[in-house]
Structures are given as C-alpha cells and as structure tokens.
C-alpha cells in the first residue's frame, strides 16, 4: 500500500472508532442539539412576542420570529459540536491510548482526521435534528433545492472550521474540564451577532463588533439561502471566514499534535 492509502485507511479506522464511541454514548451527541433546541423554545415561545414587536418590519406582519431565529440556532449547534470535539480530543490525550497510537507505524494525521470527520458527521446530524424541531415549531424556509444544497455546503464548511479549531483546543487543554470551558466564548458569539435580533438594534460599539465578527455574515448567508432575505456580500465574507478559520485550526492542531508527547 502507498502512504496515501495508509493515511486514508488509518483515518477510516479512527473514524470508525469515534463513531462507535458516539453510538455507544449518545448523550454527548444529543447534548449538542439540546442547547439550541432549548434556546429555540425559550426565545420563540417566551421572548418571541416581545422581540417580534421590537424588530422593525417584522411587527408589521413581515414574518415570523421562528424564521428569524432558526439560522442562528443552526449556527449555535455547530459551536456546541465544537465543544464536544474539544472534550473528546482532550479525553483521548489525557489517557494512554494516544501514546500507543504515536508509537505505532500509522499515519500521524489519522488520529485528528478521524476525530474531525467524526465530529463533523455528528454535528451535521445534530443540525438536522435542530432544523426538524424548528420545522415542527413553524419554521417555513422558502429555499429551493439548490439553495438547500448551498446552505448545507456553508454549514459543512463552518463545521469543519470550528471542528479543527476545537481539535486544537482539545490538544492544548490540560484537562477535559478546561477543554469544555475554552470554547464557551465561541458559543456566545452568535448571540453578539444577528442570531437573536438584527444588529441595527444594537448600540454603536456593540453593533460594530456584531457586524464584523465571523458569525454574522454566516448567519446572514444562511438566512438569505433559506428565507430569501438579501445576502449582499455576506456570502463571500462567510466563505472567507470559514476557509481562514479552517486553515488556522488545521495548521495549529497538526503542529500541536506533531510536537513531543510531553506537554
């Protein structure tokens, strides 16, 4: 076998290992979907009325709040998935199994690739779950088939980017506890963007931050694809963020993993 087919084969082995973990202990995967679903319920049924009244255009009968909030909650699912990735990578690192992998003649990249691909699959499954709940709650996307494909593409890119970053966090975290704490700011970012309310409603400083942070253009792109709101240059900015974060996360995680075993 060539080294490339070894790399693919070893990564598949690692992927099977991670999916088996997920299948045997589904709690962690379900918890990824739980937070966005709870927030969806909370904001739609408790705060939704008041927020709809406050959001210009919507109170005039322009749309339902569930349609506004769902793209942001889909994003929140991706960040929750990143948290699980960081924890599971860190758990592996703090146990002896990774040192075993490192002393074997296997592809060095396979351990991380297996984790990342496994996590992306899990996160995408959770996203499907969250969209399902939103549909039950009255979310009515207007997307065509092609727009759905594009939305799935954007979400996959975002999940890949967040997962590589999370893998790096899992590698540098000293314990699973800190691995679950470090990505927390990531989970708050969608809230300080256009996930819950439009950025126009925020005070200037906050609004400036909200408009330039990576999640807002991604949310606006999703909103545009699923609900037909204007996208503008959000799509290209979203893609640039995803590509950039993926590259940074990938390079960081790979170099961290390839350093000496002693941390």
């Amino acid at each position: 076998m060539t080294s490339l087919s070894y790399a693919v084969g070893d990564s598949m082995t690692m992927l099977r290992r991670n999916l088996k973990h997920a299948q045997r202990y589904p709690g962690l995967t379900l918890s990824v979907a739980a937070t966005p679903v709870v927030i969806l319920l909370l904001f739609n049924y408790v705060f939704g009325g008041a927020l709809t009244a406050g959001i210009s255009g919507m109170s005039a009968g322009g749309g339902k709040y569930i349609d506004y909030i769902t793209p942001g909650m889909i994003l929140l699912t991706a960040t929750a998935g990143a948290l699980v990735t960081a924890v599971s990578v860190c758990v592996d690192m703090t146990e002896g199994i990774v040192n075993r992998f490192r002393t074997m003649a296997i592809s060095r990249a396979s351990f991380l690739t297996g984790h990342v691909v496994g996590s992306v699959i899990q996160t995408m499954a959770s996203i499907v779950l969250v969209i399902g709940v939103a549909l039950l709650m009255g979310f009515r996307p207007t997307a065509t088939f092609l727009e759905w494909v594009a939305a799935v593409g954007v979400l996959t890119l975002l999940t890949v980017a967040l997962t590589w970053l999370a893998a790096g966090i899992g590698l540098v975290a000293k314990s699973p506890e800190s691995a679950s704490n470090i990505p927390l700011p990531l989970q708050f970012l969608p809230f300080i963007g256009s996930a819950i309310v439009p950025t126009e409603s925020m005070p200037t400083g906050m609004r400036w931050f909200a408009e330039y942070q990576p999640f807002t253009p991604i949310i606006e792109t999703l909103r545009g694809l699923l609900l037909g709101t204007p996208v503008g240059d959000s799509a290209i900015i979203a893609l640039a963020w995803c590509a950039g974060l993926s590259l940074v996360g990938y390079v960081w995680a790979r170099t961290t993993f390839n350093r000496d075993a002693n941390r």
């Binding site: 070894y6 082995t13 290992r17 088996k20 199994i97 002393t103 075993a261």
Partner: protein
C-alpha cells in the same frame, strides 16, 4: 557506535550518550546501552530516575536532546517510522480504549496494523485466548480489573507482532497473582525470541526476569550487569535476630563479630545471604552459647540495598552514609 551487525549477536537497542532535560531539570545525563537481540533487559530505578523518559525516547514518543540511538537497526531520529514498525510499547498506564470492548480494542489494533479482516480476527482471538481474556472479550474495558486491563494492553501491543517490546513498569499496581501471570507472559515472549526492554522499581522482578540489569539513578547508569553480578556487589542481605533483653543481645553481639545492632529494638543484623547453610550456622552458634533468640527474619537485598550500596545513600535520601539500617 554503529548498529553492531558485525558482532556475533545483533544488537536490538544501542544508545550512546542519550540525554534529555525538561527545562533546567536534567532527566537523563548520557545513557549508554547495548541490548542484544532476544534478551530481557531490565532498567531498575526508583520513581523519577528517568526510566519512563528513556522508554519514551526509545519508543519515538519524545526526542532526545543529545546522543544517538539505534532501535532494531534504525536510527531513532532519522527513521522513526521504521522503528515504530518494529516495536511495541506497553506503558505504566493502560493504553486501552475504555469506551470499547476488549474485542473491539483488539480489532482496532488489527486495523491499525493493516491486517486483513480474517487475519486480524484470527490473531485477536488467539491472543485473547492466550491471555485468558476470551470471557471478557465482549465487556467494555472500563469494567475490567487492573490486571485484566494490563493483559489486554499487552495483547494489543502483540497484535503488531513486534520484535522489540518496551514494558514500562508492567506490574506496578498489580496484585501478586496478576504479577506472576505477567511474569510468565514476559518469559513466554522472550522464549519466542522477542527482545524485552523492561523498567521496574522491584529488584526481585528484575532478578526474576532479566538477563541483564542496569541501575538508573538521577539520569545516570550507576551499575550494569547480570543479576548475579549485581547481587554480589550488594551486601544488603542479612539475618535479623530479635532478643528478649539487653543481656542476650549483648552476648549474641559478642558471638557474631561484624554485626549491626539496634539496642532499642533489641535486634541484631547478621550479614548473610539467607540461604539454609548460613541460617543453620547462625542458629548453631546461638545454640552452642545457649542464647535464646525470640524471633528470626531473613532479609534479602532489595532496591534500598542496591541504592545504599551503589550510590552511597538510600532511596529516600535520608540515612546517607550511615551503616545503621532504617527499620521498616
């Protein structure tokens, strides 16, 4: 030194001046080793001596700061891949996947060793059977006992059919029975021609298993040789006699000449190897003088004695240079 293929027995592991520091703490200060193929080598030392660091360097986990090392004929720094293909490592802490079953752990190793499906399953079943793990095969590893986890760990290492196996404190934390089982397994591996590099804190373990022992202390090798050679250098063995009163102790002390005595505990340590002739001679001497000993214990050399002799101080660092042995 180059890999000594020219000599009669090829060398499995050769190191020259292997050094490693973590920050300003020197962990290994120039280690020279030559371990022949098919032998059992024990690296003996207390906690913190640098045993695990040596194993981590030789198994490609971390890199040395200085020195050269050849493992299975391959340069450690230039051909780590070739080294990994030849070795197996079982560490102090079980390197098993606790979320999978024993069987799934074995199949994971089969896949990572690129065995085909049938061969992987056949070999996994054989190893599980050999280590008496067949009944536990379907159980999640997290439910297994420490001894079983350690056996599974070694079984996983053997899936790759390694020519050189590193065992970092393979019996630390195991109960006596599991310890004996592990010893049998290690002897069996050596009988198959596998080279074993073992680290241990226990002199008796090194004595039981190893062809050669090196004693590591503060990152330096302070002695190397066969178990017999080492034991000859360690006069720590003695027969301890306990007396009822100070008078008996006094008269007995006069009989034996060079002894160490403890007036408070009323004990006397008579140097000797603890064998039957030595024991008989001590008892005969007491009988002839009509002195009654209350109790007798035989003390064989242990790691404390090794360190007391080889480094001039005991392991704990107290007692330095004192001829009187600490009571344990």
């Amino acid at each position: 030194m180059t890999p000594s293929t020219a000599t009669a027995v090829a060398s499995a592991i050769t190191t020259t001046g292997l050094s490693k520091s973590f920050g300003d703490k020197v962990v290994l200060a120039g280690i020279d080793l030559r371990i022949p193929e098919g032998s059992i080598f024990a690296l003996l030392g207390p906690n913190g001596a640098g045993k695990t660091t040596t194993v981590q360097i030789l198994s490609t986990l971390i890199s040395a700061d200085a020195g050269t090392a050849y493992v299975a004929g391959h340069d450690l720094t230039r051909e780590p891949g070739a080294v990994r293909a030849a070795i197996g490592v079982t560490g102090q802490f079980s390197a098993v996947d606790g979320l999978l079953t024993a069987q799934e752990n074995m199949i994971l190793m089969a896949d990572l060793n690129h065995l085909n499906r049938a061969e992987g399953r056949r070999r996994a079943a054989g190893l599980l059977d050999r280590f008496e793990l067949t009944e536990a095969a379907a159980k999640p590893v997290s439910t297994l006992s420490g001894g079983m986890r350690r056996k599974l760990d070694l079984a996983m290492t053997l899936m790759g059919d390694p020519r050189i196996i590193f065992l970092d404190e393979p019996t630390t934390g195991l109960d006596p029975r599991s310890r004996r089982t592990m010893w049998q397994i290690i002897r069996g591996l050596a009988a198959d021609g596998v080279t074993i590099f073992l680290t241990t804190q226990y002199l008796d373990e090194a004595d039981q298993l190893a062809d050669r022992i090196a004693v590591l202390d503060h990152g330096k090798l302070v002695a190397e040789g066969t178990p017999e050679e080492l034991k000859r250098r360690i006069p720590g063995g003695h027969i301890r006699l306990q007396f009822a009163d100070a008078d008996a102790l006094e008269s007995a002390a006069a009989l034996f000449g060079s002894v160490t005595r403890d007036d408070e505990a009323l004990t006397l340590n008579v140097p000797g190897d603890g064998g039957v002739p030595a024991l008989r001679s001590v008892l005969d001497t007491l009988d002839r003088a009509s002195i009654k000993a209350e109790a007798l214990t035989v003390h064989t050399p242990d790691l404390d004695d090794v360190f007391l002799t080889l480094t001039g101080r005991s392991r704990s660092g107290d007692d330095a240079g004192s001829p009187k042995e600490s009571t344990r």
